[in-house]
Symmetry: C2
Subunit: 324 residues, 2 copies
């Protein structure tokens, strides 16, 4: 459900009203029945929803809502984030993660929340990615962005830029290449994908003149991955790599730091990029926007990114059931 | 002329054959008459060119070639960079810089060369930007990229990423904001442009959580520029700033490091971005591609970036003659 004081309820309701999403079926919203019902009445009045108290009661086909009520939820209003709204978001994530880990659902699609959702549970996580990894005991996981045929996996995420160099390791880059290779094979129907790894420095270090990380860390990782049979090349200059992927030369790219990935992702797919966590025992996608408390409840938020996130989760689940 | 072993001669010849460039007149090619004549015969046979031995003989209207012959130029061939081809490139730049500094021409448009052009002159410069700054005694200059209505100026350029943080200073950011403000006013007809400064860290540091450079360096520089009357804001998260400029919210942006600028520039304008040096006593633009020795002489190089560079130089000269 995400934080109900943000745009999450309205984008979820509108997404379910999308004809293709509606036909796909098999969607269970996890959150407050009372709050979601209000959002559906306003933003998707034609969509029928089955309220459920347990996932065991769900037929797995018709859209349903698994109710996870929290105290004070009646006082929650769009645009007014509160401890109660954070608690709804946290409870929804907690229950959804449990269902995914138990295999009751194939994928979790998340809506935006704040770190207060985790703080209300007494947890230190800043976002879904770290929380899901912790819940499922995954230590080898990464954030990936998908927009159309383009996929970018991140070797580092929320770090000061000055700390990126010292945080990179050959092991982490190998893990990211392998995660990308496995994910594109298992969930995107691309066996033996063509992968590229970005350099860290201008012109990918220009042979050591503009930095040594390419030679000391990135290249040895690429060599080891190639020896393991993965079709990967690099380090490539980052300023043309994303253009080359957009032109079809690569099926996926490893970016070394947050903005190296997010600048092209937001330029090429401002509304359509989907955030995917790879390395979990279940499929997890997310709308790429935030809670947007400032415009919540005004009916102007676009559901485009949420629709893409739901679509992609479905495609990734089907991909994982296709023989390689 | 650029390095005659690269694609420079063919893109220059084809640019002069462009009807609009041809009508503009007032273009003097500086380089080897023998080598340029061969390129014009092959790639732009209909274009008439006046060979000149001195800029004093030029009428300033008809396209001409100022011949700067070097020894061994007869042995130069496309795809085969040599000391002789580097010498042609270096001589052309040396003569063109002198003419611009003397006021004999209003602008210099450069074609690609390698650092060997400067090495052959016994100079340490790696590219045109540093060379022109040195020749004209400019200490406050910067590299800028222009693509359509979008302009990005770079606070740092060819540095290892790990050195960017320590290389930033409040002074340098103030200089870049002021150079961008002055240039857009004087050469682009945009008085009081709306400028944005990028943050260094993910989410522009997220209030200090992901880095302190925004609070310690960037924000104080922005505040000082605003107090001086410049319409500037920031630091803004870099991952949405270029998208916001593309959407029309900013007339120009200050980027803090090479790839922060070049990733969006190459994605949005792979063939049409023009490299501009600001802070020189004359207008200087450049095609944004390299020498491309690997495809030289095959007639497949696109002249699009050179045509844009010539057009932009002309517009910038006219802009500087418009009353503010």
């Amino acid at each position: 459900m995400g934080d109900p004081a943000g745009i999450a309820p309205e984008v979820i309701a509108r997404s379910l009203a999308d004809p293709e999403i509606g036909r796909a079926g098999g969607i269970l919203i996890v959150g407050s029945w009372a709050l979601m019902r209000a959002a559906f009445e306003r933003y998707a009045p034609g969509v029928g929803l089955l309220p459920l108290d347990s996932v065991a009661d769900w037929d797995g086909l018709h859209p349903g809502i698994l109710d996870v009520p929290v105290p004070d939820e009646a006082g929650i209003a769009p645009g007014k984030p509160s401890r109660a709204s954070a608690r709804v978001a946290g409870e929804a994530v907690r229950v959804a993660a449990g269902m995914a880990i138990d295999g009751a659902v194939d994928a979790v699609v998340t809506a935006p929340l704040t770190k207060w959702a985790f703080a209300e549970m007494g947890l230190p996580h800043h976002g879904h990615t770290e929380y899901f990894a912790w819940r499922s005991g995954s230590t080898r996981f990464a954030m990936m962005f998908v927009f159309g045929q383009q996929r970018v996996i991140l070797a580092t995420t929320h770090l000061p830029l000055a700390k990126v160099s010292e945080s990179l390791s050959k092991r982490r880059i190998i893990d990211c290449v392998a995660l990308l290779d496995e994910t594109l094979g298992a969930h995107f129907g691309t066996a033996r994908p063509r992968l590229g790894v970005a350099g860290l420095n201008p012109h990918a270090g220009e042979g050591g003149l503009l930095g040594v990380e390419e030679q000391e860390i990135v290249l040895p990782a690429v060599v080891e991955c190639r020896e393991a049979g993965i079709q990967v090349s690099g380090p490539h200059p980052a300023d043309t790599l994303f253009w080359r992927m957009a032109a079809g030369e690569f099926d996926g790219v490893v970016a070394l730091y947050h903005d190296q990935a997010l600048i092209p992702v937001k330029l090429l797919g401002p509304e359509h990029a989907v955030n995917v966590t790879v390395g979990l025992p279940f499929v997890r996608t997310s709308a790429s926007h935030g809670t947007a408390f400032d415009i919540a409840g005004r009916g102007i938020a676009s559901e485009a990114s949420m629709v893409e996130a739901i679509h992609l989760a479905g495609k990734m689940v089907i991909g994982s059931q296709t023989p390689q």
